[in-house]
Amino acid sequence: MKFEYQRPATLEAALKFLAAAGGDCAPLAGGTDLLVMIQEGLVGPRTVLDISRLEELKNIREEDGRIEIGALVSHGRAAAAKLLREKAALLVESCLQIGSPQIRASGTIGGNLVMASPSGDTIPALYALGAGVVLKSVTGTRTVAIEDFFTGVKKSVRRPDELLTAIVFPAPEPSARGFYNKLGQRKALAIAKVSVAALVTRKGEKVEKVRIALGAVAPTVIRAPRTEEYLAGRKLDPETIAAARSLCAGESRAITDLRSTAGYRDRMAGLLLARGLEDLL
């Protein structure tokens, strides 16, 4: 490992440093992915920019019906936050599914997004919540819809001079219910073989609106639009759920790799959705 280490005191200083570094600089948040990648020789930045102490990126708050989570909130802290437990339980569940207590204590919400793995546990939950990603640079701030943030495996629209500073999403309606279901190779320290998150808003007996996201079945996390469309306006009964299950499996575009097979993943995408919906009954 060879790199320089910088620890800016403020967000402003960090952004200035990034702008001047011209891309050869890796922001260090929780380090649970970055340091592994450096050790494996997958990346070799000239500078590691330690942003892990920027307190201004560690808040969780609700304002005007929008929930904002600072990029440096750890998975452990997010999972323990009262606001998120009450209003975004599916995100809390996804945080608890990450790695191990140690990884949850260090790894951050922002880091999980920047690493842009299709199996990142929080990503499907944030898709389901309709989140936006706040990117800051010395030239300004932009918010990108999470679905537009990822462009491929480990790729995103974040420019090298930008920092991901926060995740924002509208506070779900009180009647909304969601879930995050995952299958891994074991029950802890597990990378998702397939995962499904959904947020369902119901009016009376019928589904008013549903957002479904599938993890680890495509180069990025994907939505399941045909399944969503099918469910809208329907009552959640066993028959509807069965139909949604097979639609959803059809929308999965998995591949076979060391962790699982394409056929299994596609099928489980449907099953995990169906089980989540059944649990809402």
Partner: protein
């Protein structure tokens, strides 16, 4: 008063012991829980260099050019060594030393070593590796024995691709027996390469002392005296000037019986005249070190309608990787283990061990047995199913007893408690109430199906007939009454040091706190053989008892002189020497120690023991004379939609003669079970075209706390009169039948049989779609 004299040599009566069979806390526990234990990879001597090994960039090929000149010029690099720098034999191997220390003109697997670097720091050593230039001519890559045995296949070694062939002399006429059997089952089972995954990877430090000519190597180890010889052979050095310190070791499971860093470290320390440290990365440990062999085992078993086994024919083909290490004996023990602890009038066992360019097959806890028992115990379950017999009944009907002739044809001369373990299994709540338990669980977990499975094993203890199977220890009593036991055995986690201290304290009838065990150092301890083959408690225990037998007369002699009494009127007991004619007069160990010093009579003895062997000799160490017997029960929950299996409970019922340490036996069972569950459901070293797809713990999946079952251990005792206090050994057996027990439980839950490991959720879902596999 004359003290009661215990029947120490027999030790099989109902005597109440002070230490034997108790939960004596481990002698090394305090240091381990405070972080004070110093493992060989915890050493960072002043002025040391960091070493790295250049490994083969391709799995199979000729080396056309190896140029280390640029690496040698890099500032901070103190040595770059190639095969030209090996003074002695360029090879190592427990049985056949054909595994190159550094390759000369050919690489045969991805873990092959080509060059060594020692530099001032890790970064420079790493940099130097990149400056070494190697030009290869690739050769065809062989992954499997089928490819290796195909006509026209490239020859991995001069003598061909068959490493070893073993045909045990047939017993009776198995073909006739199968033809006449009312039921004949046949099936091939396939198992994967498995990684030991000790938490401490291979590593250590070496220092060369120019004044004395001694090269000292601290390393993770199982047999320091063999390492001493192997290092000396490659360095062309006096073995008595090679000091190996191998204890304690952070897990070994068979994987550290072979050379890893030892020769490389010694070469570099000798060349640089500086301390050198080498610690394999996790990836290096997976790629370069030996694995549990992948094997294909084909069973043909015949039985009568009455459930009696008539004949068994087994053929095993092992994927042994590029070199020998100890592959022959592993294959042999697979064959010996394959019939299980059952009687068959007719049998035939044949095996082939085949070279490939895949992972290196080697020694691994279980030593060939897990691969075959996975198959056998499922075949027996199938047979019970066909006969509508309770699976335990079927096993009991065929189980061996002491004095019986085994499936292989040798007489079982030592304690054989398989029936006792099966009877105990039958009495467990889990077995008796299994239908009710499954029903209750299914009611509570409607998405799951539950099953209970059983499996048994006999596991050989000791190296086998014809092999040097011994241990030596020394016992000394110091002036202060402290007792020092020295053994070459290594503490790899199994708890043997504690067992030795218990045996010695029991035999001397003294407090265990008096005893210090010095272990695993070739300059401080006698040769006690390897800690392998579940052998170390039996053989070191017997050596200790032999030493005590010699120590007691010395103590009596001291007492005779101190008390001025004839020796024949004195006797040792209760930690003292008593006068038998003169009531009340006795000397304590402390007094005896002090008086011995005064008289300049050294209280120092050597104890020795050799394994008793079988009445037959089939060659190559077969067969064995001692066995651990074990039955295990597993309760699983299977989610038929996701295919996920949760092992909820495992009960281990071992018969290891006598349990020396109850917590130690439980610990071996509990750890063996989780390792076995890993083998069954999660673990696989994936190699394709010689390339490793699993290189770390994110792809090589070990069970965590959340994947591990509730466990219970029911110890069955059947003391073996030739073992210390009746003890045999228990290190390996508990990791073996758990695999077919889980497989049988999965069958009980969802009606599927699996012939390939690991059994994955993908397999189960596919199986439920397509019927039996």
């Amino acid at each position: 008063m004359v003290p009661p004299v215990k029947d120490r040599d027999q030790g099989i009566g109902m005597t109440e012991y002070r230490y034997i069979g108790k939960r004596t806390p481990r002698v090394d526990a305090r240091d381990k829980v405070t972080g004070k234990t110093v493992y060989s990879t915890d050493l960072y001597p002043d002025g040391m260099l960091r070493a790295r090994v250049l490994r083969a960039a391709i799995p199979h090929g000729k080396i056309l050019r190896l140029d280390v000149s640029r690496a040698r010029k890099l500032p901070g690099v103190e040595a770059v060594l190639t095969h030209q720098d090996i003074p002695g034999h360029n090879g190592f191997g427990i049985v056949t030393p054909n595994w190159p220390v550094l390759c000369v003109d050919r690489v045969r697997y991805r873990g092959d070593a080509l060059a060594l670097v020692a530099a001032v720091d890790e970064e420079t050593a790493e940099e130097a590796l990149k400056l070494i230039e190697v030009e290869y001519e690739p050769l065809p890559i062989i992954d499997t024995p089928e490819e290796a045995l195909a006509e026209g296949a490239v020859q991995i070694h001069r003598d061909g691709n068959i490493q070893h062939r073993m045909d045990i002399p047939p017993k009776g006429d198995v073909e006739k027996a199968l033809a006449e059997s009312e039921i004949v089952l046949s099936q091939t089972y396939r198992t994967q390469f498995m990684e030991h995954a000790y938490l401490e990877t291979e590593g250590g430090v070496a220092i060369y002392d120019e004044k004395t000519g001694v090269i000292t190597v601290w390393c993770g180890d199982q047999y320091p005296f063999r390492d001493q010889l192997q290092v000396a052979r490659s360095l062309d050095w006096d073995p008595l000037k090679i000091r190996i310190i191998g204890s304690p070791t952070g897990g070994a499971f068979g994987g550290k019986d072979e050379i890893s860093v030892q020769i490389h470290l010694a070469l570099l320390a000798y060349r640089t005249r500086k301390p050198v440290r080498l610690h394999w990365s996790r990836e290096e440990s997976i790629v370069a070190g030996p694995k549990r062999h992948a094997m294909n085992s084909t069973f043909r078993i015949g039985a009568g309608k009455d459930g009696r086994l008539r004949g068994i024919d087994v053929q095993v083909v092992a994927n042994t990787g590029a070199y020998d290490t100890i592959a022959g004996p592993v294959l042999n023990l697979a064959l010996e283990s394959s019939p299980g602890p059952y009687k068959y009038p007719h049998s035939r066992f044949r095996g082939l061990s085949v070279y490939t360019n895949s992972a290196m097959g080697g020694e691994f806890r279980g030593f060939g047995a897990p691969q075959v028992v996975f198959g056998l115990e499922q075949e027996l379950d199938k047979l019970a199913g066909k006969l509508k017999l309770d699976p335990i009944e079927l096993r009991l009907l065929n189980a061996v007893e002491q004095g019986d002739i085994s499936a292989l044809g040798h007489r079982l001369q030592t304690s054989a408690g398989i029936k006792d373990t099966l009877e105990a299994a039958r009495k467990t709540d889990l077995w008796r109430r299994r239908e009710e338990i499954k029903r209750d669980l299914a009611a509570a977990h409607p998405r799951l199906r539950f099953g209970v499975g059983v499996a048994s094993e006999w596991h050989a203890v000791g190296l086998g007939v014809g092999l040097p199977d011994f241990a030596n220890v020394t016992i000394g009593i110091g002036e202060d009454g402290g007792i020092t036991l020295r053994t070459g055995a290594i503490e790899i986690g199994q708890g043997n040091l504690t067992a030795y201290a218990q045996i010695l304290a029991e035999a001397l009838e003294c407090g265990i706190e008096r005893i210090t065990v010095i272990h695993g150092d070739t300059f401080a301890c006698p040769d006690s053989g390897s800690v392998t083959a579940s052998r170390s408690v039996l053989i070191n225990g017997n050596a200790i008892l032999n030493g005590v037998k010699k120590l007691q007369p010395l103590l009596v002699r001291v007492a005779a002189r101190a008390l001025d009494l004839p020796e024949e009127n004195l006797a040792y007991g209760q930690g003292r020497v008593f006068s038998q004619i003169d009531n009340g007069r006795s000397l304590s160990l402390d007094e005896l120690a002090a008086r011995a010093a005064e008289f300049a009579l050294p209280l120092q003895v050597t104890g020795a023991a050799v394994f008793a062997t079988s009445d037959k000799d089939f060659g190559d160490g077969l067969p064995h004379n001692y066995y651990t017997y074990i039955t295990q029960l597993a309760l699983v929950g299977v989610d038929p939609e996701t295919g996920e299996v949760e092992v909820r409970k495992v009960i281990s019922i071992p018969e290891m003669g006598r349990a020396i340490n109850l917590a130690g036996v439980e610990g071996q069972c509990e750890g063996g079970v989780v390792m076995g569950i890993g083998y069954t459901l999660y673990e696989k070293v994936a190699v394709e075209k010689g390339e490793f797809l699993t290189k770390g713990f994110s792809t090589y999946i070990l069970p965590t706390t959340l994947d591990s079952p509730e466990q219970e251990t029911v110890i069955v005792e059947k003391p073996e009169k030739s073992g210390p206090y009746g003890g045999k050994g228990v290190g390996e057996a508990p990791t073996v039948p758990v695999t077919p027990a889980v497989a049988n439980a999965i069958h009980d839950a969802v009606g599927l049989r699996f012939t390939r490991l690991p059994i994955t959720p993908e397999d189960i879902v596919a199986g439920l779609e397509g019927g039996e596999r």
